[in-house]
């Protein structure tokens, strides 16, 4: 499975330019150059791949065609026939989604005195959080400050981020790191306790904290273990996705309908407060892109939250990670962590030349790679007809000393070794891959939404990252706002009085679809992508 002879020829050119590149990085772009390249080459700017949504509170907002179809989907249950009278579970706080945001919310809700149910679609921890490699940002070094962090966040996000949310993000950040440590997470440190931090795309200070390249896994398994230890107050329901929210007669959120993924049985959970933490939507494969996301990233929370009346924001911008694997075929689309560039690997064309600063914000870096392949035709072709550019991983050991790659990037080394490629000696072929949903449900600094008693946190939400999230700010986001949402939900649950349960909002939704003349293309939430070959 190792590289083809043509690829090897190109690798020779990569090797030849290393001595020069040791001392010469390609210069970063100006803001104006960034704007230009984005407009011409970024997938978000392709007009006919987006359309406005035609129903609901954010009617008229543009989003990818694939998402709009799912959002305008037909509910999985018939509200006129569904019986809400037999409640299966009653609880103070229902958390929907067992990733980082959900686990953090459950823990904080429990600490604030609530009985919690955490319902999730697959296994607890089968989530994008588990897959994050690079790290988590926090301004905790003496040469850094939350204010500098703030500026990086809004600059990366094209200056449209919601200021209050950004403030919460950067000011809570050091507390989140400290919280994780108190739960026993192992960060990369110097012997004297100083955090070993790196740059990420768009950072002006080295504030990326990591746990080798298993940063997300280390966070997720630690939080999961802690949730399990608190079994007396937190009940975890696996393979039980939410398929619809339930409101009460006064328009407050009152829980959700879950579906046993294996038997199809419906379960009714009545909850004083509900936290939506269902993550992103990479498995919708916008514009046919491969994705880095886990199997269950199918926009479910957007669908059911929107039907219940929560407005949307920035869903016309998706993050394409600049460095998805382009070879070998078996792992196309899988993430090659940004930490590889953070540690000094440069991005090169077929002739071994640099054409972009290696640490531009992600959207800009992706656009530059697409330009190199599509317009300048200077990419490297793979046997399956894909095009990619080189990410020169061996530079890392040249810059920082032998053994650095193995120590800092064990997951990456292992990933490629399984397919016969040694990234400590050979560069990696990469092309942009669908990675992150920048926008989502609108929410407030305390995690609340416009629907009373409904909270939201994590990748399902939008606003804090503006139109482009920087690496390391999403793990931070899910923990900052997961914690806030869990705390708020628990406190709020002490005052909630619920009325009669209803699915009127679902009925209303079906009516709106009909009035708009929409014939839904799918039933949604779709819950899982369908990759089965259609057998006869």
């Amino acid at each position: 499975m190792s590289y083809t002879p043509e690829m090897r020829e190109s690798i020779k050119k990569v090797e030849a330019t290393r001595p020069y590149r040791l001392h010469n990085d390609f210069p970063p772009m100006s803001l104006q150059e960034r704007e230009e390249i984005l407009r011409k080459f970024h997938p978000d700017y392709i007009e006919d791949k987006m359309r406005p949504i035609r129903v609901g509170v954010s009617k008229g907002q543009r989003m990818p065609l694939e998402l709009a179809d799912v959002m305008e989907g037909k509910p999985r249950i018939d509200p006129d026939k569904f019986d809400l009278s037999e409640v299966d579970y009653e609880t103070d706080v229902l958390v929907i989604g067992g990733g980082g945001a959900g686990a953090a919310a459950a823990l904080m809700a429990q600490e604030h005195g609530a009985k919690v149910i955490l319902a999730t679609k697959l296994r607890f921890g089968d989530a994008n959080t588990m897959m994050a490699q690079g790290g988590i940002q926090a301004a905790d070094k003496p040469n850094d400050s939350p204010v500098i962090h703030y500026l990086d966040v809004v600059g990366g996000g094209h200056f449209v981020n919601i200021p209050d949310l950004v403030e919460a993000l950067v000011m809570d950040a050091p507390f989140v790191i400290s919280w994780l440590e108190s739960l026993g997470m192992m960060f990369d440190k110097e012997p004297d306790g100083t955090m070993r931090t790196q740059h990420g795309g768009g950072t002006s200070r080295k504030r990326m904290h990591s746990a080798r390249d298993y940063s997300g896994a280390e966070i997720m398994r630690t939080l999961r273990d802690e949730v399990r230890n608190r079994y007396q107050d937190i009940t975890v329901l696996e393979f039980s996705p939410a398929i619809e929210l339930i409101l009460d007669e006064n328009g407050q959120c009152a829980g959700a309908i879950l579906m046993n993924l294996e038997t199809g049985e419906h379960l009714i959970v009545k909850a004083k407060c509900t936290v939506l933490a269902t993550g992103g939507s990479g498995r919708l494969h916008y514009q046919g892109f491969p994705t880095t996301n886990h199997y269950g990233a199918t926009a479910d929370g957007l669908v059911i939250g929107y039907r219940a009346g929560v407005p949307l924001i920035f869903l016309d911008t998706m993050q394409y990670h600049p460095t998805g694997a382009a070879y070998p075929e078996q792992i196309v689309g899988l993430l090659v962590t940004e930490k590889v560039r953070g540690l000094g690997a440069q991005v090169l064309n077929v002739d071994g030349e640099q054409f972009v600063f290696p640490r531009e914000p992600r959207d800009v870096e992706s656009a530059a790679i697409i330009r190199e392949c599509v317009e300048r035709k200077k990419g490297v072709k793979t046997p399956s007809g894909m095009c990619g550019v080189w990410l020169d991983s061996p530079m890392i050991d040249i810059l920082h000393g032998p053994g650095t790659i193995q120590r800092e990037l064990p997951a990456m080394v292992r990933q490629f070794k399984r397919f016969g490629i040694d990234i400590t000696k050979e560069p990696i072929l990469v092309y942009p891959t669908l990675h992150y949903q920048n926008g989502g449900l609108q929410y407030n600094v305390d995690g609340s939404t416009v629907v009373p008693n409904l909270f939201a946190a994590g990748e399902v939400t939008g606003g804090v990252h503006g139109r482009n999230r920087l690496m390391g700010n999403s793990l931070l986001d899910v923990l900052v706002f997961g914690r806030r949402a869990g705390t708020s939900a628990a406190l709020r649950s002490k005052e909630v009085k619920l009325g009669r349960l209803t699915l009127d909002h679902v009925r209303q939704w079906i009516r709106e679809l009909k009035e708009a003349g929409i014939e839904p293309k799918v039933e949604s939430p779709i819950l899982l992508p369908d990759y089965t070959r259609k057998v006869k």
Partner: protein, 226 residues
């Protein structure tokens, strides 16, 4: 050109699938809509533990379905769930000492040192070595050696002494992270500064800037050198 096909047995039943697919994609090719045994599809979550044998080879092999390429004559079985014991504890009440391991997981001392676990690990971790460290009560060593564990459960599934290796490992990592890792002085200092309101004025100011002013500041940022 016709695709090269290979025969594989999924739960004992024969299917022809294209060469070069991962086990996971081969199952989907065969017509399975996966619910169990699939999570991240990228080698990070441990949902897709698989045991297999190859025709005419008596050995049992293990792998992650999302990371292993099919070979002709593979007999595949998924282990999407394994009921290993997990001790329940309050991390704040524990002490980072050998007795903690022995009390929560007394079976650790029954480990035979046979090394079946090491052979079963799809992450190629030396599970036996960290179990030996656990028996010595060397928490830091267990934490380090087990760090890349994705908790797929294959070690436990194959263990003749019925050890819950991966749960012992996470206990040690948490003990290490919480009690034994050196503290970060700069982090504690920053928490104090934020609590004292050191950044409040500046934060208020930057939040009130216009987009043009922010752009100017942003373009003038000094970037910490590599």
């Amino acid at each position: 050109m016709a695709e090269e096909m290979v025969p594989v047995y999924i739960m004992g039943k024969l299917y022809e699938v294209p060469a070069g697919l991962t086990i996971m994609k081969a199952m989907e090719y065969a017509g399975y809509r996966l619910i169990r045994g699939v999570g991240c599809r990228g080698g990070f979550c441990g949902a897709c533990a698989t045991v297999y044998r190859i025709a005419n080879d008596p050995k049992l092999y293990v792998g992650l379905a999302c990371q292993t390429i099919v070979q002709p004559g593979m007999y595949l079985a998924q282990i999407p769930f394994f009921p290993a014991e997990k001790a329940l504890y309050d991390i704040n009440q524990l002490k980072p000492e050998p007795e903690t391991i022995f009390k929560l997981y007394p079976q650790v001392l029954r480990c035979l040192g046979c090394g079946t676990c090491t052979k079963s690990c799809p992450q190629e971790l030396d599970v036996r070595a960290y179990m030996a460290a656990a028996m010595r009560g060397d928490i830091a060593r267990v934490a380090d050696l087990s760090f890349d564990c994705i908790m797929c459960g294959l070690c436990s599934a194959r263990c003749p002494a019925e050890e819950p290796q991966y749960n012992i490992a996470i206990l040690c990592r948490r003990l290490y992270g919480k009690y034994l890792a050196p503290r970060s002085k700069h982090l504690e200092e920053r928490l104090r500064e934020i609590q004292e309101g050191k950044f409040d004025e500046e934060m208020k100011k930057i939040k009130s800037l216009s987009v043009d002013e922010l752009k100017k500041l942003y373009s003038a940022r000094d970037i910490e050198p590599e």
